[in-house]
């Protein structure tokens, strides 16, 4: 079995940046460090390992966004992806369903009979900016493909994939037949480091831009942000004189009122 793997990725503000709300009401990312979404990095790594194991013939990374998002595609190319696609959404901000529809339209349209077909869509389980995690499931539904979310391990099986997924209740291993959508958690594969030669090599790899409007997919959003606010400032702790006062404070519930703030 040989096929192509598609890894949809997202450009997000770096995990080490403390985000702030800008004057326009949204998160202000001007001049801040941006990165390939860490979950997507794991997906890229897993895709590369599958290609290196001979399961897949090539790995395509794709992102939907403005041209500036090409930088995360270049990072993925430097990691080893074969080619990249930017679906240029210009000034539109599609929601999860809009992205899933774009990916669906891309996969449906990109059936070059000279090359292998996409046999796997592998992406991060969620983006660290909005944490919605909806695209993988929506895309699987649109494609009519089986899905396995939050994967911590996977391997190729005779007719598809064996994927181990974990949640608080335990782990389950699923057999997915045929082409599938799998979303990665951080355990799936530790991303390799980008090397200096690979950065140079990545510049030579094909990166094609497709205008989102060619897919005839609605790019609006059904989500309305009502309000966005910084987390409340955490109040200082209290000092108690002795054990009796400590028990009293615990009993009053005041000790935990700021937890999670």
């Amino acid at each position: 079995m040989t096929m192509k793997i598609l890894v949809p990725v997202k450009r997000v503000v770096d995990a080490n940046v403390r985000v702030r709300i800008g004057s326009a009401g949204g998160v202000d990312t001007a001049g801040l460090k941006m990165s390939l979404n860490p979950f997507d990095e794991c997906a890229v790594e897993q895709a590369l390992r599958l290609r290196e194991a001979g399961v897949a013939s090539s790995v395509t990374v794709l992102t939907c966004g403005r041209p500036v998002c090409q930088d995360v595609l270049r990072t993925a190319l430097a990691m080893g992806a074969d080619n990249a696609v930017l679906i240029d959404t210009a000034n539109a901000s599609p929601d999860s369903l809009g992205i899933a529809r774009l990916l669906h339209a891309f996969i449906t349209a990109d059936t070059d009979t000279d090359t292998d077909a996409y046999g796997l869509v592998l992406c991060g389980k969620q983006a660290i900016d909005d944490d919605i995690g909806g695209v993988a499931a929506m895309l699987a539904a649109l494609l009519g493909w089986p899905q396995a979310l939050n994967a911590s391990a996977m391997e190729a099986a005779a007719r598809g994939w064996l994927v181990t997924c974990g949640d608080d209740a335990g782990t389950a291993t699923w057999r997915l037949d045929g082409p599938a959508v799998v979303s990665a958690d951080l355990r799936l594969a530790e991303p390799r480091r980008v090397t200096l030669p690979s950065i140079v090599k990545a510049k030579q790899k094909p990166l094609r831009t497709v205008d989102a409007s060619t897919f005839n997919v609605p790019l609006g959003t059904q989500i309305r942000i009502v309000d966005m606010a910084e987390p409340p400032v955490r109040q200082p702790g209290i000092k108690v004189a002795d054990t009796t006062a400590l028990l009293g404070a615990i009993g009053s519930g005041r000790l935990f009122q700021n937890v999670g703030a």
């Binding site: 801040l32 930088d71 200096l196 030669p197």
Partner: protein, 395 residues
């Protein structure tokens, strides 16, 4: 309203050092206020290099006294448990034929003239100390054994702990919003936690110094400048703790290097960085192209690093003055105010010495090293402290 004899704005490595020295020199009532937490601003982003190699003589003096403090840090702050995280690996600097050669020779001569041990190495000797590098183009290689790197955050917290032990009050998460004045005299500060009066105010506000300029109505020439640091990993040529920190005057970016964690290479450019519009210590964007450019420079000197991987990368911010040297001392005819700002990327190396002379000045004592060359007036008089290597953090 509480009163303190001395108030220090800023609990970075400089402010914490001032507080320690004020208390150690006998000040009885000292308050330090910081907008965030101790050492959390630009201090925490320092690469931590320690050397006495400077082309400006006063900096050599300050660096020498500071090195003594780093090298004996527990004794210096009188705390057996204190550590500055010193790795005493030495410092090597090399220049090829060209415009950097004469300044390097002059700086090495000046260091030797001041009694600092500096060795001139042959290419073979340099390679013995730093076997992962090649020195084919090197025309002059200097080596200081009494140098290395340390941890700026540990130093800031070490000084702060010492200050607290000596009775200094440090208020974190407290923002200064303005000054209290009595004519030409500064008599206190207004903060998010109330107003405090003082006999003398010491500002160590680093990239936030423009706020002070606004309060006193005097322009203070300092800009925030962002610099990028890369950690590279190369299994074939690990950069170990016993290999010296290294300055490559022959590279276009005047790169500096040190071991990072005992196997990786920390590398950064020693030239002008990205000027920011506003003081900001948040992580800036680092493009893959930039990594590639710096990586290509690295590979010229460290050939095995041609294949190196990028382990991590981050940005730090310098408070840069027009001549890349700090402003220390009073501001005009304003009484009760001492400033220390504009460390231009070399504040940490000098922090013990600078903390001491700022404390001495605020106390009205004679200072170990004259503040005069560092006066704000130099930008008007033209007596600038420009280093022989031009703009950049070598000075």
């Amino acid at each position: 309203m509480s009163h303190y004899d001395f108030i220090v704005i800023g609990a970075g490595v400089i402010g914490a050092s001032v507080a320690h020295h004020l208390a150690a020199l006998g000040a009885k009532s000292v308050l330090v206020v910081d907008r965030s937490t101790i050492g959390a601003g630009t201090t925490s982003q320092s690469s931590g290099l320690l050397r006495t190699h400077y082309s400006v003589r006063q900096n050599v003096e300050l660096a020498r006294s500071s090195w003594h403090a780093f090298n004996n840090f527990a004794d210096y702050v009188d705390d057996d448990e204190a550590s500055c995280g010193l790795v005493k690996c030495g410092y090597m600097i090399c220049a090829p034929e060209g415009d950097k050669l004469a300044p390097l020779q002059a700086s090495l001569d000046a260091q030797q003239g001041m009694g600092i041990e500096v060795q001139l190495l042959s290419k073979a000797e340099a390679r013995e100390r730093l076997p992962i590098a090649q020195f084919d183009d090197a025309a002059l290689i200097g080596y200081e054994p009494e140098a290395g790197f340390a941890d700026a955050y540990l130093v800031a917290t070490g000084f702060a702990r010492s200050a607290r032990r000596r009775g200094v009050k440090i208020m974190e998460n407290t923002t200064v919003t303005g000054l209290v004045r009595d004519g030409r005299r500064v008599t206190g500060i207004e903060t998010s936690a109330g107003t405090f009066s003082c006999g003398a105010l010491i500002s160590t506000q680093n990239i936030w110094t423009p706020e002070l300029a606004g309060w006193i109505g005097v322009p203070l020439p300092v800009k925030p400048e962002r610099h990028t640091v890369l950690a590279l990993e190369c299994d074939a040529a690990p950069y170990t703790f016993n290999m010296p920190a290294f300055k490559d005057l022959g590279s276009p970016g005047m790169l500096y290097f040190r071991s990072y964690g005992g196997s990786q290479m920390l590398v950064s450019e020693g030239v002008v960085g990205e000027t920011l519009n506003a003081p900001e210590t948040e992580q800036g964007d680092i493009s893959l192209d930039y990594v590639g450019e710096v990586g290509a420079q690295v590979a010229e000197r460290f050939t095995a690093y041609e294949m190196a991987g990028l382990a991590s990368s981050w940005t730090g911010v310098y408070d840069v003055t027009p001549d890349w040297n700090p402003v220390l001392g009073p501001v005009g005819d304003i009484e009760g105010l001492t400033v220390g700002f504009g460390f231009s990327g070399h504040g940490f190396k000098l922090s013990p010495g600078i903390g001491k002379i700022l404390a001495q000045h605020a106390l009205g004592h004679a200072s170990d090293v004259s503040l005069a060359p560092y006066s704000l007036d130099r930008f008007a008089s033209g007596a600038l402290l420009v280093g022989k290597y031009g703009s950049g953090a070598v000075s």
